[in-house]
């Protein structure tokens, strides 16, 4: 038996090509169709469904995340404005109270000054009155003394 006979007429050999070839080709083609309906289609359907599911969810999550970020920024700006407004109100109130305090203080000072002035004037009056009286009395006394001295002479 010949072991190596390319396309040889004798049977056997490594390169013995016969009807096995087309039948094997038909078998492989049939296998392609069988595997397509048994394996590639169903598995592909499941895998692609899941991939779609995952990508949809991912997209949704991304959308939600961006929405959350937008809301967060919105809230943050609102917070910022509220904070600055509060600051403004507080400083306004502080100014107001400061002004009121100053006004009150000035008023009190004025009043105190006025009463002090009044008291001083009164004291001055009284003093000058007393001094006048004293002078008068001294004059009277001196006149009296003079008179007595003159009279006694």
């Amino acid at each position: 038996m010949l072991a190596f006979d390319f396309f040889g007429a004798t049977e056997g050999g490594l390169f013995d090509i016969n009807a096995t070839l087309p039948l094997m080709a038909i078998q492989v083609v049939a296998l392609t169709y069988i595997l397509n309906s048994l394996f590639f289609k169903p598995v592909g359907k499941v895998v692609e469904k899941r991939e779609k599911f995952v990508s949809n969810n991912l997209m949704e999550a991304k959308n939600k995340l961006s929405e959350v970020k937008k809301l967060e920024a919105d809230l943050l700006s609102q917070l910022q404005s509220a904070r600055s407004e509060a600051q403004k109100i507080v400083s306004e109130a502080e100014n107001e109270s400061d002004k009121l305090y100053k006004e009150a203080l000035e008023l009190a000072n004025n009043e105190a000054n006025a009463s002090k002035e009044k008291a001083r004037l009164e004291i001055e009056n009284q003093t000058s009155l007393a001094r006048e009286q004293l002078f008068k009395q001294a004059d009277d006394l001196s006149e009296l003394i003079v008179n007595r001295l003159i009279l006694e002479k």
Partner: protein, 241 residues
């Protein structure tokens, strides 16, 4: 020729002997069909078990099958391109699975224990008929892919950068199936022969690393065959600008 001087029963291997089936006028290599039917039967059982109850949260076999599907899709997509890979994925996947199952089945299952009247069981891909059948299918596919996608413009490919390429491109149409078939056939047959000879000479321990190497080669050959087939189809449907 040079094999004639060697005894065909060299190292207890029966090289180039076949179990012939005679159907009418045609003769078939029975051992090739026997092993391929057993292996493909096992593959189909495995796949129908895995796809019996498909769930959205994959478990067990379904996981493995989905991994395989994803692997084949990636292979087809990278070689053929986004546009038409879907049409060719089952064919590429079938080639990969058929070659892989044949190679590994031939290497892993102790076929030697089953005695045949003539020839012996082994990897179906160690028979030149199988590999030529696969290679010719690939040739037909890429012609079909090119013609169905681009019509007569497919033949622009032959004169693509310059008309000087024409004879080389025509030659390529012959070398493609030739190299595809002989690469696979040679690798698997050589692996079987090496393991056979080593087992005959040193029946203990020593053949084991060679067997592992054979498993590695078998897997690589399946990948190479599927990748090249996909590449040829991709080349045929690619648009030149």
């Amino acid at each position: 020729m040079f094999f004639n001087s060697l005894p065909t029963n060299f190292a207890a291997l029966e090289v180039g002997q076949h179990l012939y089936w005679q159907i009418g006028n045609i003769r078939l290599h029975g051992q090739v069909f026997l092993t391929s039917w057993i292996l493909l039967g096992a593959l189909l059982v495995f796949i129908s078990l895995g796809t019996k109850k498909m769930e959205n949260d994959p478990k067990g076999l379904q996981n493995l099958l989905e991994f395989l599907w994803d692997y084949i899709r990636d292979l087809a997509r990278t070689q053929i391109g986004e546009k038409v890979y879907r049409d060719w994925m089952p064919f590429i996947g079938t080639l990969f699975l058929f070659v892989f199952v044949s190679n590994w089945g031939g290497a892993l299952i102790p076929w030697r224990l089953i005695k045949l009247p003539s020839g012996e069981l082994g990897a179906p891909t160690a028979d030149i008929n199988t590999t030529i059948a696969l290679a010719l299918l690939v040739s037909l596919s890429y012609f079909y892919a090119g013609l169905s996608n681009k019509g007569w413009r497919y033949f622009e490919y032959y004169v693509h950068p310059t008309p000087i390429m024409l004879p080389f491109k025509i030659l390529e149409d012959f070398t493609k199936p030739l190299s595809l078939s002989f690469r696979l056939f040679g690798n698997i047959l050589a692996d079987e022969l090496v393991v056979g000879v080593l087992v005959f000479l040193v029946p203990l321990v020593l053949p084991i690393p060679v067997m592992f190497l054979g498993l590695f080669t078998s897997a690589i050959q399946a990948l190479i065959f599927a990748t090249l087939a996909a590449y040829y189809i991709g080349e045929a449907v690619e648009e030149h600008h």
